[in-house]
């Protein structure tokens, strides 16, 4: 038994181990594309990665953490508020902002927070600070993982094994972008806007429909079947494990290039136009597939816009819609057990019909 320090501060938001570089991941284009799109426009609502084991799901998502450009935060704010636009919700920055002081800011890595299985409720939403409570009898709020993930990513591996009561907490916060804590005599409300990223293997069980709906994009990954691709995966991984530092150095340029692309796309995003026919196409697609609600269209258009920005295009065209439609729509289809084709195939079929017209 050893004593450990409590508190969010002890767990670094970025793993200490060297992380496999994002551009070095072979294939899995759809997954990489979906993650990059969410990096450009975090409002899209996250990515769900479902698929075979040993396809590099976790590797890719952890690689994203090392790829993202740093962001500016107010020093000392546990929620990582941005200095240029303090979100009125933050209980730390808001009073400070009202005094008119110019806050000190710093560049920090984008938080990619792991939500491990077996996490307890108090660590997710935040709770009474144990240390202060025990030592000084003082009532203070200790922010949880949702606070740490604000303006970043929240990653849940084996998302379908997450316990129901934790899922319930997430659903609420993911929808509203703020975390409301009413427990142990504390009453705290703080911003909690994050990109939800989940991964899992469908064999372990289904995902609850409510949670499925929260993910903007959903990606199915399979193991590459081509021998050369597989050899390349093994070759790169082996090289990385033998000499992580050397491998990272080789890929450093590619990482920097991709990072610049994300930054450029973010700047460009607001300026990307969505012409009328693109809206029409999106609606036609969703009607053809019979998706519930309007979230399908909204996500489709939004993701297409982010993709156009990534590709450096000035406006959204059929090309982006076609490219992103399977990710944006496949998890929104009604289940039809008689249709043996996967939902991805159904989207492709609908795409052919709509775009042929």
């Amino acid at each position: 038994m050893s004593t450990l320090k409590t508190g969010a501060g002890t767990a670094a938001s970025r793993p200490a181990r060297p992380v496999f570089p994002f551009p070095a991941i072979v294939g899995q284009e759809e997954m990489k594309q979906a993650l990059l799109i969410c990096a450009v426009d975090p409002g899209i609502g996250g990515v769900l990665v479902f698929g075979d084991r040993g396809t590099g799901k976790s590797t890719t998502i952890r690689a994203l953490a090392a790829l993202l450009p740093e962001q500016t935060v107010i020093v000392g704010c546990p929620y990582g508020c941005a200095p240029e636009a303090p979100q009125g919700l933050c209980p730390v920055c808001a009073p400070e902002h009202d005094t008119g002081h110019k806050p000190r800011s710093a560049k920090v890595p984008v938080p990619v927070v792991d939500l491990p299985l077996g996490v307890t409720e108090d660590r997710v939403v935040g709770a009474l600070d144990l240390e202060k409570a025990l030592a000084h009898g003082e009532k203070a709020f200790e922010p949880g993982l949702l606070a740490r993930a604000n303006r970043g990513f929240l990653y849940i591996d084996e998302v379908n094994l997450l316990e129901d009561h934790i899922v319930d907490l997430l659903l609420d916060v993911a929808a509203s972008g703020e975390n409301l804590v009413e427990r142990e005599g504390l009453s705290v409300r703080h911003p909690a806007k994050f990109v939800l990223v989940g991964s899992g293997n469908p064999e372990e069980g289904e995902l609850r429909p409510q949670l499925l709906d929260r993910f903007g994009l959903s990606v199915e990954v399979t193991t590459p079947e081509e021998l050369d691709t597989r050899i390349e995966v093994v070759r790169r991984r082996d090289a990385f494990e033998r000499d992580p530092a050397g491998f990272l150095e080789v890929w450093d340029k590619e990482v920097a290039k991709l990072r610049r692309r994300i930054v450029a796309a973010r700047k460009k995003l607001a300026g990307v136009a969505v012409p009328e026919p693109a809206y029409r196409r999106a609606a036609q697609l969703c009607i053809a597939l019979g998706t519930d609600g309007l979230r399908g269209e909204l996500t489709l258009v939004r993701a297409a816009r982010a993709l156009a920005a990534l590709e450096g295009k000035a406006e959204v065209s059929d090309e982006q819609l076609r490219c992103i439609a399977p990710s944006a729509l496949r998890h929104r289809l009604r289940r039809d057990p008689l249709d043996e084709a996967g939902s991805g195939v159904r989207v492709t079929r609908a795409l052919e019909e709509v775009f042929a017209a």
């Binding site: 767990a11 792991d114 491990p116 660590r123 030592a135 591996d157 084996e158 064999e203 069980g205 082996d238």
Partner: protein, 535 residues
């Protein structure tokens, strides 16, 4: 070197760690208690009876294996602790039992020790100094591209989809070279790695090369050698004849020779992956319910409504806040508040529910509705004995109606049944659909549903509410197929005067047991339902 054994049904506070209550109260500041994962850092984690390991626990171990760290986010504690360990999972399972795939996927070697006795293990082949030396050498060991290609090709030929397997094989080959004091992976290392890391995961035999040499090879697994043996023979064999075969072929041969006997037969029987893909998924089988079963932990909540207060956990939760509460007001010595309440969560195999879908239309069934009701009443009594939930659904006129949502109340069920009106058309498709939807819903809540239809199969109202026999029939058949596709257990009781083909074929489409009511005295019906439920 630490060795930690993970007991079956391990709780999260032991596996991952948590708050050490006694030390916390003594010291006046929070003291964390390490979990098995971080305690095993630098050593070995042993999983006994891995085939019974919960998928959740397996996923926690797998996450630590992936990152080399145990992520603790519990009880107000947040820590990232080193947790680099080797896993030894002991699978003592019988035929169908298998350790969770999420774990086996990450384990490099799969050894079958049946047929070995303690005597075979008397001599340890390694000593600590040799291992230490090999570890020192390991970072310098290089695997040629040819070796990587050969191992990848072998994995493909054996039908191993996951890319973790060839990666583990490469690691094994490098380790073997290091143990031998070399800095380059040799052919022997590659064949050894293929035999150890790839062969046990084979899902198919490699395509047979039409040479007679291969037949000798096929016999290799007949004698039960200790795993490292086959590569030695194999590597000698192919070299002796015609020239230099490709390394890929040699490695594949070695792996094929090391495929455990009977593995492929088992695979064929299981009709799926070797690692019990089906064992962990089934939604109903291991859902958490809150009434009965084996306790699996606690959660915050109020007692009542069948939930039991867990006193020890409640006090544990309350304990750390005592200094604050004493400050706030001079209360009793230990102040427990509602938010401290902890209730025990239970897990049980599965709750069951029987859904009765009764055709209350004016057609032939009308005459026999009373009899049908009688039959249902009998079944209800039986359900009550089994503590099943029951639900009653009637379809008549143009739509189906849920007369009684799932309940355990026998009285309510009887009352709903007695008040069931008859007459109107037969919207069979609507009835089947509504019953399917309800059953699927129940299943998602962890309750295993059984459907009992009482109908004559004479549909005359189509799905859109329009009359017309052909369309109504087609719709009903489509609905029946969907029910079968959803994998639901069903029983169809034919309530027509004479058993008729329509009802029988409908039962066929549903994959349901067919039972004509005319011959069905109460006992027979009861026995049929019981038999259906037992499956």
């Amino acid at each position: 070197m630490p060795l930690r054994r993970v007991p079956l049904g391990v709780a999260d506070d032991r596996l991952l760690g948590g708050l050490d209550l006694a030390a916390t109260l003594r010291g006046g500041s929070p003291v964390a208690q390490q979990g098995l994962l971080s305690e095993a850092d630098g050593g070995v984690l042993e999983l006994a009876m891995a085939e019974r390991l919960q998928p959740g626990a397996a996923a926690r171990v797998a996450a630590a294996l992936d990152t080399g760290e145990a992520l603790l986010e519990r009880d107000g504690l947040a820590a990232r602790l080193p947790a680099r360990f080797g896993v030894v999972a002991l699978d003592e399972g019988l035929e169908e039992e298998a350790p969770p795939g999420v774990l086996t996927e990450r384990l490099g070697f799969h050894l079958d020790l049946s047929g070995l006795s303690l005597r075979d293990l008397a001599q340890a082949p390694l000593d600590a100094a040799a291992v230490a030396e090999a570890r020192r050498l390991l970072p310098q060991v290089a695997a040629a591209d040819e070796v990587l290609s050969a191992l990848c090709a072998t994995a493909v030929a054996l039908g191993i989809a996951s890319l973790r397997a060839p990666l583990q094989a490469v690691a094994a080959a490098r380790a073997a070279a290091a143990l031998d004091g070399r800095t380059a992976v040799s052919q022997e290392d590659a064949t050894l790695a293929a035999a150890l890391a790839l062969a046990p995961r084979a899902t198919r035999l490699p395509p047979v090369a039409p040479d007679d040499e291969h037949e000798e090879e096929a016999e290799a697994p007949e004698d039960p050698p200790a795993p490292p043996d086959p590569p030695d023979e194999q590597s000698r064999d192919p070299e002796s004849d015609e020239g230099e075969p490709d390394l890929s072929d040699k490695v594949l041969e070695a792996a094929a020779a090391a495929i455990p006997r009977g593995l492929l037969e088992k695979l064929r029987l299981a009709g799926g992956g070797p690692r019990g893909a089906q064992t962990s998924g089934s939604a109903g089988a291991a859902k958490t319910a809150f009434r009965r079963g084996r306790p699996i932990g606690v959660r915050a909540g109020r007692p009542g409504g069948g939930q039991r207060l867990n006193l020890v956990e409640t006090l544990r939760t309350a304990a750390p806040w005592q200094p604050i509460r004493r400050k706030e007001g001079a209360g009793p010595r230990v102040e427990v508040r509602a938010e401290d309440f902890r209730i025990t969560r239970f897990k049980q195999k599965s709750e069951t529910a029987t859904l009765f879908a009764v055709d209350a239309s004016g057609s032939a069934a009308f005459a026999r509705l009373a009899e049908a009701k009688g039959a249902v009443e009998l079944l209800l009594a039986d359900c009550y004995v089994r503590r099943d939930q029951v639900a009653l659904l009637a379809f008549r006129g143009v739509a189906a109606e849920l007369m009684l949502p799932p309940t355990r109340s026998l009285v309510r069920a009887k009352r709903a049944l007695a008040g069931l009106p008859g007459g109107g058309g037969t919207p069979l498709a609507a009835g089947i659909e509504a019953a399917t939807a309800l059953a699927v819903q129940l299943r998602q809540r962890g309750i295993a549903p059984t459907l009992v239809f009482l109908t004559d199969g004479q549909a005359n109202i189509a799905r859109d509410g329009q009359p017309g026999r052909p369309q109504a029939r087609a719709d009903a058949e489509a609905a029946a197929k969907r029910l079968a596709a959803a994998g639901l257990t069903a029983l169809l009781v034919d309530t027509s005067v004479r058993p008729n083909e329509k009802a029988r074929s409908l039962a066929g489409l549903m994959d349901a047991l067919y039972l004509p009511l005319p011959q069905a005295d109460a006992k027979k019906l009861n026995a049929a339902v019981r038999a259906t439920l037992a499956t």
